[in-house]
Symmetry: C2
Subunit: 505 residues, 2 copies
């Protein structure tokens, strides 16, 4: 009885993000049949086009008539049929790649084809969020072997767009994160570009950390650029410092992260696949990975860092990516400012060769830039650092940065921090033994960063320094008094994040 | 700035099943702040009430104004605040029990408190479907140890309603499934009730199998009964044969299954917790579990069956449930009919002592009933089977069944199968060596069962019988020609599901 399965298509202006939702009227004759009532997903077809969608049921006639089927914004967009046309409803075809997911759950190893089919089904929105979560947990729990990480990376690259650049060497850097204030990218990129190498840098915004490179750069310039504009800027300056969210590079990765992030899952294999797929899709040929190690960093021990390095190297080699890994000191935040405006201030101090510029941020940036410069076959091994220092100290890096800022769209420079400030002082005299990255990041986040750009923390003392009781350790800036109260409560319950030696000076 | 966070509450008539969805206008000033834009869930509060909901965004003014917040039907119901009141929106408090889920994902063992908190958060809809999926996969993959299964069972019981009965012994039976036609419950229950024992039987409907007990009983009587009506029927007849879906027993289990079923996950620990929590919540004191073993059954080997038996016994003992397990022959379907109407016909033949009644269905029912009768301390060990046979053959079981049918609400008896029939004959002469439970169930499902009650399969030959080429093996009934075509295609591609010995007669 095919005719009874026809419904009129109606777009509903509901944004269900990545999930396709179809809406049926409670009195829809089709929904009345038990066959559909027990379904969670339906297949909607017309003229050879077909999508899968999760069912929601509408009561009353406000939104839909019983002979209509509503589609949420992303579902309607994906279906590419006109409003008002007749569509056919049927039980969904099984999503075959879910068999591979179930095999993974049972501890089996998947092959190249499995990962490709999983990524294709995800990109065509054939997975519900629950199915994506099942895939992610399976990858977390039994883990992915290194071939599986490679297959997943490749599948994520092949199911998205790829940038092509007109240069033999296209470089990029990536820090695996967890260190507040670690804004080296905004110093490294202009140094590399000033040397004449191509570094089309796209970065993420912070979600749970107090600032991402895109958030910090956004205090100085526009970062949300069309691909065409971005390409033009790179052609003119060798670089850009843009937000990567609009580029549709390895889009499966975005879908995985949108489910993974609220679950707070942590899968090493998926992290490596995520990073490398984005870089290869962005057209990079050479990549430097920064792995900070410390008690409160993402990677806690040298052993873990080396294991991670080897995984990066293996997958990088398979992808024919020229990849190097630097294991760096992650025992405390880098620089002084934490939060977009305060970090931008630090970056500009370094680029301006300000004598007050934070030394650790400058040194780390020069080391990273030096390693990247040595990707250039004309640079003698070991000379990268000195060349980077020369480019920075001669002012050429700052000139390049100004060029990038202007082309992306400069903003009025305003480095004034947020209006409410709170001083945290040393509770005793002693030597600073440790600074808790996680706690300091959390405090800055609660203070309002990155949503309030001027909110954050300004560190005045770092590990190794001797302080007297009452000395200022750091200052917290908030835009709103409520946030300041949250910060006070958090410090009251969980401390100030600084560990001082017991003996007095 | 608390005032800017106030929105007007508006119920939206959208049934999002178990998930709470909140709808914001794209132009809502709150959504404009990046703080909310990056969120997937929000917390909505007023007068001390508070719920968590997943965000969907509405474009245009048709449904919502920018100063309103919409709630889907289940969310509005759970929030228990009036339409039009002012509510406060805030970022969600973290759901603490997700830490335990993440620990489980990492292979750790959880304790009683963990499972209780997880179940409480699930029952209060603080988990998204993706979070429930993560929990389920974690339970599947690293598995649950037997204490964990007990804790989960207990937590599922304690987060729902519990029935109380006025009898020292309340019995139940459960088959772990996978065997088509295995409709013993409808024979066992009237035998037990006729003996005077209490057996308030609630059953499920089929989802992927061709019939559940509720579907089959529904061809004879109403099965969707209020708890009050059900209680009254049990008081009058000692039994009922109702659908269990309305009772709110161990509701966490329903939520888990609603996510698990589309994922087709299979977790032994969760299955045991699911079965036992429902039975204890229904007030059972004595329970018989039937585990059929066969190459195409759910449990494939005696070793697996014994492992499963021990898990049932362990958790049953912890729950102070008097539990027995029978491991039965699952090498082929039980009875002849597969599908609601055809199975009801078999059941009535057995209850009516029809000489043509399927022998295997009768014998298995008597064995199960005999074991349950022996839960009665007055029955001598080993006498249960004979007593059961006596109750059946004297017609007392049928009288009891008629009483139950009448009180639940009898339907006009119509055992005529569906109109289109298709005969499947032996392709060669030989002995029937095996019948594939899974394939036969799949064929009956494709034929239309259980949605078309009269659709299904009627088996004419069982394992061990000798057939000549062209003899009728089984007949398939469909209500619609389209389904008949699907069945033909399936047989063409995957065979008839019967294995015949090579040598001719």
């Amino acid at each position: 009885m095919p005719n009874t399965r026809k419904l009129i298509l109606k777009p509903l202006a509901i944004d269900t993000y990545h999930e396709h939702i179809a809406y049926l009227h409670r009195q829809c004759p089709l929904y009345q049949s038990e066959e559909f009532r027990s379904l969670f997903k339906v297949q909607i077809s017309n003229n050879g086009d077909s999508i899968l969608a999760t069912l929601n049921i509408i009561e009353g006639d406000e939104l839909l008539n019983p002979n209509e089927i509503g589609l949420s914004i992303p579902a309607f967009r994906a279906f590419s049929q006109n409003a008002g046309c007749e569509v056919q409803l049927s039980p969904p075809q099984p999503v075959h790649s879910m068999q591979a997911v179930r095999a993974k759950i049972n501890g089996q190893t998947l092959d190249k084809t499995d990962f490709m089919q999983i990524c294709q089904d995800i990109i065509h929105k054939r997975y519900s969020n629950a199915e994506i979560a099942a895939f992610l947990v399976a990858c977390t729990e039994s883990g992915l072997d290194r071939n599986e990480v490679f297959y997943l990376t490749e599948a994520m690259i092949e199911t998205g767009k790829r940038f092509e650049w007109d240069h033999a060497i296209v470089v990029d850097k990536h820090c695996i994160g967890g260190i507040p204030g670690n804004r080296t990218t905004m110093i490294v990129t202009p140094i590399i570009a000033a040397h004449g190498m191509l570094m089309p840098k796209t970065s993420s915004r912070a979600i749970t950390s107090p600032a991402g490179t895109a958030d910090t750069m956004e205090t100085l310039a526009e970062v949300q650029l069309s691909f065409e504009k971005l390409q033009k800027i790179v052609q003119q300056t060798n670089a850009c410092l843009a937000w990567g969210g609009t580029a549709q590079l390895a889009p499966v990765d975005d879908l995985l992260i949108s489910v993974e992030r609220p679950l707070k899952l942590d899968s090493v294999g998926q992290m490596v696949a995520s990073i490398l797929s984005k870089k290869v899709a962005a057209g990079s040929t050479h990549l430097l990975i920064d792995i900070p190690v410390g008690d409160t960093a993402k990677v806690r021990s040298m052993q873990d860092a080396i294991k991670l390095r080897k995984l990066f190297e293996f997958v990088g080699d398979q992808l024919k990516l020229n990849l190097e890994v630097m294991i760096t000191d992650g025992k405390q935040p880098i620089g002084r400012g934490i939060g977009p405006t305060l970090e931008a201030r630090d970056v500009l101090q370094v680029l301006n060769n300000d004598p007050n510029a934070p030394h650790d941020l400058k040194e780390k940036s020069l080391e990273l830039a030096g390693r990247i410069l040595e990707f250039d076959p004309d640079i003698r091994g070991g000379q990268g650092y000195h060349l980077a220092r020369d480019i920075l100290e001669s002012g050429r890096a700052m000139t390049k940065m100004q060029q990038i800022i202007e082309l992306q769209g400069a903003k009025t420079l305003d480095l004034q921090p947020a209006k409410y400030s709170l001083d945290i002082t040393a509770p005793q005299s002693g030597r600073i033994e440790a600074i808790d990255n996680l706690h300091i990041a959390h405090l800055a986040h609660i203070a309002g960063a990155p949503f309030d750009k001027k909110a954050g923390i300004d560190l005045r003392q770092k590990v190794g320094q001797l302080v007297s009781s009452g000395d200022l350790l750091y200052r917290i800036y908030c835009e709103r008094q409520a946030n300041q109260q949250f910060v006070k409560d958090l410090i009251h319950h969980q401390g100030i994040g600084y560990q001082l030696s017991e003996h007095s000076l």
